[in-house]
Subunit: 218 residues, 8 copies
């Protein structure tokens, strides 16, 4: 498993990551890492690797797109000196194009998205042990849905960037697509974006797979 | 226009109708008829037919399906002695089959739906001037989506019942389908069910059409 | 219809415009444009012109008179670079003379009102496609009521300014006067100023007429 | 002055009397008699007649008309065994005809008003030392305003009843009419009904006059 | 009566004056002048002198003693340019010596009190039409009570200052002493300091007397 | 010390005893015995007699006088089967005569007080190991204050009853009188009734003395 | 895995099970099954067995011991007709003996515990497919701690009952003991009773093991 | 007894000292010194030494360790010019090593603890009459518990420092150890750290002993 004793692992992104985390940095007792997938990842690390002390931090911020994430990257990522950085961004970049089509200042189109995310990766890699890029997703199984189709472009961009920079990559869209063959999207998220605990567990499982979880579950 | 001076018009159904209406009966000042489509209908009647006094009441109840609606029909419809009854029910009958598949007590399948709604219509018609049946809907343009496909059966059932009993009929699914050719469903409802004001205005317009609105808009 | 695809339309004024809008600028999801006439205008544009993307913003501020509006004009109007500006101001300029007669610092008399509003119009016209001036009003049908009589002077001033600068003009006082021949003022506003949804729809309809609404209502 | 040492004086009516009084009976410390005219009356009695102990109670109830007042008369008046009863009712009987014209169940027309109020007076007089009838009012100086004109009928009815049964009578409409020659109605009540402290003091002064206040003010 | 049409009258002091007034300056609609004696004074002026417009402002501040009052005098008195200033200070200067005897930083002894209040009067008189000094008080009829005895020194100091500078003077201690011959102190204030409405009316009456109230009460 | 291992000790009375205790019976974790003198007694027992388990319960009720206490005596005392009962009642019986002189229904005069308290003692003694009567008090050192003078009668009545029935007796008035020779009454209670922690500790100490506290304090 | 498609699984017990579940029965959307171990179990079933529909319900109740659980067993277990019942009770039975030693009514000693739990099992087994008994626990690794030693008796009793009636058995004490060899008890629960998410995951894992979880974790 | 008339005594530390004290400095009426052991100390001084005025202040701050305490020492201790300083710090320095083992930034190890506390003592002694060092503690009677064992090192460090600098010293660990021979730790604190009133009284008693309390308890 990637994370060694003493490592500091930082998760960042939008509301899917935020999930009510503490401010200014989501970690430790009380407010902690929020109630989303980051908490499940932290819990699994503590339950299955109790002999390793791994510091999990969360600086996800509700409403963020890749541009607003970039604006706080120095403060919320670099200055915290993590060993590992996991980032999940892009949902709002696409969503606002569909739920707020007339407010163009809130849209981030594919070129700016690709360019900005690449910059963040380039800037970060030299000072960390590794990065984990989580694809954005839309829990919509109809690939012809306009927003799903658009999201697929952003998913592809993340895959490309992960490949180009040789980071870890988690294809959340594929994971949800698979689950949606069993259950309707409304079972895991009424708005097809914000996952309930089932959705969070699916995300956490994919992250665990990506980082080489190697213990017996039972 | 159907509603005459002095008529009492009752709207009932689930959360789409409820929309925060006052209790026990949604009407009058303050809490009034809620903030959904019923308020827009009431507003249009007051603005365009100021010379007629039409009493608008709302007994929609969040979470209701046709079975729970039936349980309160005597109290919330018959005892209020309306001249006209508009009912919009069925969304939850279908939704729970998809977002809560294991809790079968909350599902209402098509036969029970058809039978129960028919009973309500039969029981009510003799004491009113007329009824308006609003189809349920799912703001999902992909007709192969499992929940949309299931909803179409319920929409068809309402159309049949309206035809059989010769009531007014409003096909909300068709109205939303048409609008979705212009805008993505997330523009009018993140969960594809609860309409924002744009969605409410679409519903209200269809109701106005159905009752024979005949004034100049400007 | 005046507003073209891609246009940004800004509404500003006092509490009648504000109506609980989001801060710092009222637009987009959630807090949005408030619950008053601006929302109805935005809704009608979205329902009837779905093929045009028109950005609607609201910077009305409760309690403002034309002087306090001027103080924030650069920030709340010019800096937002709207294509169209609609302004409705003057109610508080007059009202405070009657409900707070001894607090003269809150009164704006007719000359200062006319001069200040003219300045705002002059300053704005060069950088927008057009302006819409909404008259203030008092939902009082008795023209000899002291406050109504005073308000009529301010209404006349707006009409003059609109004429002089060739802007669009909406005479809300006339619209309400007409409606008050059918219903008592307490039906649309207990305090004869803050409109309920019926009053908001009347305002929205007059604005729609003014901007050349040209679709079928049904 | 009418009220003797040891007398119990009960005020009842609608929201103008209620003014946030304690439940079930508004008297004593803390919640007490509310913050409206009853409190001013009680205060004046305590300041100017400190040698007399006069128990002041308030059972006004927001929203009441004469019919709903009758329904609770046994509990909220007779059972409390007052020596004096002051009643101010009628505003809502009229107001609902204008702000809610289509909801006829909330209207109380003049004949029912006169008959019901007469019944309450007849039923009460035998067991009290005296009654004080306060006229309803509308702080509208234009007597041709439809609601003011209607209110005048109710005011007249109270005057008649007071005369017929020989009770004390307070013409609040006249008192406010006089004050409105100096200040605009919005100075004492934005909705022309619910008085601010200036309005409450005017009511209290008229009551003091009616009961024979006979001390030096300074 | 001292206050002429157009005059601005400012009341300042401690919690007895504050009484929940609006911030930054207590005046006008809504938050207004609080719910204490200032509101009664304002109400009486409006009821009995409706032909004069007298602006009443309140900058009392809970917890203040004469030293903390001095610290904000420029901002809360001088900068507001009042025509008349009424000040009631000294209760906390004394009270803290008894309820917090070990916290000397909160005590203001008689010499500092006299000197500081004198300074405020000297500084203010040149720019106002007149000042009204209200004595502090303790609603304790036992003159041998240690706190009452101490308070009497402060009352005397205010009387001296008023005499020396020829300001208006209101002896609240005497007014309460007289009332306490009729009722127990717990009737007007459980803590013998913060007056209920009866106590506020007594204060307001003394102020009215001091400023030459000259209208008929009824 | 009176209380043996396993004993159940019940404290009851008015707000001085209540002090925010849990409902329906104040004992155990969380809400527990409130924050007044009962908590200090319980704490001292637990700190100094850790080898004895003594159950402390509190059924004091804010606002009670001896008559309302009697009405709940069966439920709040007898049914709880205490070994020891401590009661402190009488403050409100007297206070209401002074702060609410016109509301006679809230007064309990000395004869009824003496008779009712005697009944409660007679009724209880046969089923308990002993009773502790705490005198009421008024933290007023001036014995000529009308309320203090009246309270002295009630204090005397409790002493008589304790003597007649041979119960334990705690003279709280004497204890406070002694303390008031050092500090002003406002130091322990602004309203001369509700003790702060210093006052509660004084009460607790007197109770400890009465029950034979026999451990080293340090 | 024990639970088949269509099975209804009920979890009951005290606050450890409750964890903020919905009322009257914790299941379905929104309030759902709370935020404790039941939610993790439900989540794992939904993630790993999406092809089976298993209804999970929670009727845990904070503060319960086996006696209060018995009092509601008919309503909260039998009447819900579950296929499987999991029960975790006993923590409060023991805890109150240590944190509230003098309040014996809240203690449940070992004999009554064993007898009552046995009764519940006997009464339930005939109408279910199976039961899962979870041992109580105290996250205290020192077996000589008085409360831990006492808890061990209760743990043993549950093991015996499970063996006697041949139910499934989960030894939570053993699971926590093992974890405490890695981390201090304060890491999973400040009070050594209420588990954080790490503790809940440990409980859920043990339940999963007990019911024969047989899928790949990754 | 150490504290003389007029002395100012300051208590500082972490949440055990803080206990909800007022900000910025905990003293005086209302918010005061919190509800923990400082209040009991202040109460005992006021009850038993009423002839001395001793100012008690509290600047404890929840969550502090010795490092964060040092950061505010100038502002919260030196600038207040106390005569005596009592400090209780160290619980969080140790606790975070066990409940948050992976967040090393919140740990303070023994060398830094000893060095920092020594600095604070050295810096303070020259300007005060004396200091009282309270040991940290863990209400855990098992000395082999890892956190207890670690805490013992910190307790020893405080004892050493007190000895080296000749300050007063209070061994709270010893006091609690003694009490735990009678009652289980859960009786005084569920988390073995934050004392209930019994625990606070134990702390206060030890402080009283340390400062030479010399009055009769009864």
């Amino acid at each position: 498993m990637l994370f060694a004793n003493g490592d500091k692992v930082l998760f960042t992104g939008d509301s899917v990551t935020d999930a009510g985390r503490g401010r200014p940095v989501g970690e430790g007792l009380h407010a902690g890492v929020g109630t989303g997938y980051v908490r499940i990842v932290e819990t699994l690390l503590n339950v299955y690797y109790p002999e390793r002390l791994i510091q999990v931090s969360n600086t996800g911020n509700s409403g963020d797109n890749v541009v607003s994430l970039k604006a706080r990257w120095q403060n919320d990522v670099m200055n915290l000196h993590p060993d590992w950085v996991s980032v999940c961004i892009g949902v709002n970049d696409v969503w606002r194009q569909f739920d707020s089509p007339s407010i163009k200042s809130q849209h981030v189109y594919i070129d700016e998205y690709r360019k900005t995310l690449s910059e963040l990766v380039e800037r970060t890699l030299p000072s960390v042990k590794g990065m984990i890029l989580l694809s954005p997703y839309y829990m919509e199984s109809n690939r012809e849905d306009a927003m799903r189709a658009k999201m697929d472009e952003y998913v592809a961009a993340v895959a490309e960037i992960a490949s180009k920079y040789n980071t870890h990559y988690v294809d959340l869209q594929a994971a949800f697509d698979k689950y949606l063959t069993y259950r309707h999207s409304s079972f895991i998220a009424w708005d097809r974006v914000h996952p309930n605990q089932v959705g969070c567990m699916i995300i956490a499982r994919e992250i665990m797979r990506s980082v080489g979880f190697d213990r017996e579950f039972l």
